[in-house]
Symmetry: none
DNA sequence: GTGGTCTAGACCACG
DNA sequence: GTGGTCTAGACCACC
């Protein structure tokens, strides 16, 4: 699944998992209709509790990205997620502020953005 | 101070304050050596708990961006913050994933990045 | 059979099937003594797992609405189901709460109730 | 809080709690801005686990009925909840089917509906 | 086999 | 003092 959790990361574990899967969906590594790994299996693979993964799947479900069926499992439902323009701008601004304060020059930041965007959108068209 | 808190924002209040001040520092609106408002005053202005502002200042201090002296208040100590490349990339990727999943086309995303970056770096050179 | 399953429905599939058949019985579309489709056939028609239909029939049986004989299939046994007044009220209240919170005015709710009731009781006399 | 949980009820405990609070909100017993009891207190009052109540609050939050603030608590945010017409009709039909199959005559059902609706909407205008 | 619910209890984050 | 997260482990519901 190409997912890792990092204890140094300030985000909650379930959030890292949810964000990681969102990236996989954006990239198309998880296409619409693709099954997600069973909660228990992913929990075992990542060495975390079952409920932690369940929380991640719950977030993905409430974002409309996956559908979870009781006896079957979870599958990717959509590659689109609702977010207001305001929130998107705010999110981006907060992230960019980190890079600017880290001292990266504008050109370098644009390079990284371009690079990440390329990876994230490789499956978009 | 041009700081606002938004109850619709998913971030914690102290985080909104800290992030807001970071943006002000990045933009140069708060230059090196500039004094930050007293905790009590900012708390009153924003209508939040005093401890909330204290938590924000604590984060800024641990990031090395401000120094807090008892009695004389807080001042901007630096416009640079340590962050590993990994962490920066991760932060940016997580933010960009939101925009991509929201369905924004690449060109639009680059426009927003460029726009935000312009605002954030206006005081850099 | 006029039964459909809807993946957007929050209810479990077996529950949708059981509820759907209950509505057919209430309406008289399935009269007392009428045979239900064989489990295998209904499963095939709806494109769901055989056990799912079996679970639905099991609920109908435990409600006393059908009898299942090995070899001869299931038939409608009764058009009456035991339910305590408390439970009925609770069920109705929970449903009505949804409509009220959805912002429907009283008149509109009464119209829908009347409409649905008319359909459900058309075979009652 | 006028909330009770019933082990005979087929709904999950957290669902009973969520539904109960929804009814209180619809009735206006919990007005907009009113604080909900702390998770731990309600858990103790009802004799269930803290996480069970947290799950109920999470549902109310995702329905947009309450907002939960980290160090403060939960307050009623709105008395309106989004639901599609289809879903509302389906919900009502399923509930009414129970009453019809329980053998209640039309007049009696309308009486109960009217009664419940009166209670639920007492705080609407 | 799948996910869902619930418990008990610990620890952290927020205001 | 508030809610959030995480764990370990049990049992249930669904397909």
């Amino acid at each position: 699944m190409l997912l890792t959790i990092d204890t140094a990361d300030r985000r909650a574990i379930y959030q890292q998992v949810a964000d990681g899967i969102k990236a996989l969906i954006a990239r198309g590594d998880l296409a619409e209709g693709a099954p997600l790994p069973p909660v228990r299996q992913l929990a075992a693979d990542l060495g975390v509790n079952l409920n932690t993964i369940a929380a991640a799947y719950r977030e993905l479900q409430s974002d409309g990205l996956i559908t979870v069926k009781h006896g079957s499992g979870a599958v990717v439902a959509s590659r689109t997620m609702e977010r207001s323009d305001d929130e998107l701008r705010r999110t981006l601004r907060t992230a960019l502020t980190q890079l600017v304060l880290a001292g990266l020059p504008k050109g370098r930041i644009l390079n990284i953005v371009s690079d990440e965007l390329h990876t994230l959108m490789k499956g978009t068209k």
